[in-house]
Amino acid sequence: MATPGATAGSTRTNRDHGMRIFLIWLPLAVIADLLIWFVWKPHIPPGTMTSSAEHQQFDIAFMAILCAPVLLFVWTYAAYALVNWHHRVGDDTDGPPIHGNAKIQATWIGVTAVIVLGLFVFGTVELIVPAGAGAGEGPAPIWQPNTSNRLQVQVIGQQWAFTYRFPQFGGMESSTLLLPANTTVEFHVTSLDVIHSFWAYQLGVKADANPGVDNIAYTTTKNQLGTFTVRCNELCGLWHGAMYNYGHIVRPAAFEQWARSMQLTQARKGILNMMPPYSLTYDPTVIPQLGASIVKIDGITGGAGYYYPPQDPVTP
C-alpha cells in the first residue's frame, strides 16, 4: 500500500507531498478569496442600504473568506490522496504505524484556538460597532449610536399587520414605513397581541415584537434610496405568511414633507387625539376614553356585554 511517507511505491518524502499540496491549495485559496471579495460580496444580502446591513454583508463575506481556504484545503488534500495514495494492484503491505506528534498537536490546538478566539473578538466588535448590529437589544440597549440625533419609529405588531408611530411627528401612525436617507433610526418594537418579529430585511434590522415590551434596535440609513421588505419573522397565526409590506428610503426633504403631511391630516381628522398618547408599550385592556379596564365595562363591549369573557382561559 502506498503511503504519504517514503514507501516502496514512492520515493517522495512527507515534506515533498506537503509542499505539493500547499502549492496546489495556495492559488486556489487566493483565487477563491478574491472572487468572494470582489465578485460575490456586492451581491450578498442584505445589501448596503443601512449601516447594519452593510456590516452584515461584510461579516458574511469575511466569514466566507476565512472558510473558503479551509474548505479548499480539505478538498485538495482529499483529491491529492485519492490520486497518489490509493490502493495499487499487488500491494498488500500495511500502512505505516501512527505515532503521536507533539508538534502537530500543539499546532492544531494553537491554530484552532486562535481561530475561535479571533472569531469571538471579531463577532463582539461587529456587534458593538454598528450599535447592536440591527438586532433588538431590549428596553435598555447596551450599544447605542454615537449621535443623539435619531429618528424614533415605533413598530406596532398586531395580527396581521405592522403599523408605525412617529413620536417626533405628534405620534402620528401609518401603515406605511418611510425613512429618510442618511439618518440614524431608533426602532421601538412592540406588539398588541401575540409575539411577532419585525424583520426589515434589506435594512438588516430584526427585533422581536413582544406584547408589553419595548424592544429597541438601531440602524443608520445610507444615501441609497429604494424599497425594502418588512415581514413578520415569528409564526403568529393564520395570516403570518401574509404579514409583510414594503417600506421606502426617501430623501430627507421628501420624508419631512410626508411626515408633516400625515401629521396634519391625522390632526385635522381628529384621529391623533383619539389614539392613546404615545407610549413605549400599550395595554390593550386599557382604553383611556372608556375607563381603566374594558373587561369590566358592560353595555359597551358587544351583544353579550363583555369584551373578554371572565371565563376565558386567558384574559389580557
Binding site: Q158, E173, S175, A242, I271, M275, P288, G303, Y308, P309
Partner: protein
Amino acid sequence: MSLPVRITALLVAFAAVVVGAAFIVVHYILASPPTVTFSASGGVTNVMLQEDPQNNSSSKPDWVSYFVQDPNTKKWVHTTLFSVPAGTTVHVTILGYDGCTPPRNNFWSLVQGTTDGKVSLSIVNNKGVATPTKRVSVINGWAGCTVGHTFAIPSLRLFIPVASPNAYDSANNLCGVSPCTSGPHAVETFDFKVPSHGGTFRWQCFVPCGGGFLDGNGGPMQTIGYMTGNMEVRA
C-alpha cells in the same frame, strides 16, 4: 387467534384508517367555503356584505361572521371568498348587525384607502328608524359603542372601521338569526379601486372579535368563512 381472523382484523383496521384519513382530507383540508362572483357594470362592481353576531353553520353557530350576498340570487352566502373584475371600482355596502367592540388599536378607527378617504354611514335602530347618512373619515371606536368590526385589505392599504348599532341595541336587540334580515344595524358604503392585474388579496377584521380565544384573536378571526377571507381579482 387463527390466521384468517388475524388477516381479517388487519384488513378491517387498515380500511378504517384509510376511511378516516379520507374523511379528514375531504371534510377538513379540502373543504372550502364557496366563492361569490361579482361582475362589473360601467366600471363599477357592487359588493354587498353583512356581519352578524352569529352564523348559520352547524359546527360553530356562535362565532361572529361575515356573509356575502350573491348578486344573482340575492341570497346571503356564508362565506368570505368573493371575486371581482380587475381594474374596476368596487362599491361595497356592509350591513353591520353585530354589536360594538373597541378596536385594539384605535388607529383602525381611521378610514383609509377609499377613493375619497371617507365612508357613508347610517345607523338603523331596533324600531327601523335610520339616522341621516353622513360622510365620515373616522368612526371613533373608543368613544363609545360605535365600531363592531373592520373590513381591511392590508395589501391595498384599505382599512375600514365598520360601525355597530348603538349601545342599547348592541346590548339588547341584536339580530339573533343569521343571515340577518331585520334588527338594528349600521349601513356603511364606500368605494375603492382594485388593481388592473389579477391576484388574490386577503382581507380580515382587525377587531379582536374571537370571544373566548386568546386575546380575542382566535376562532372566527383565524378561520376563512367567518371574519377573514380572500378577494380574488380577475384579470
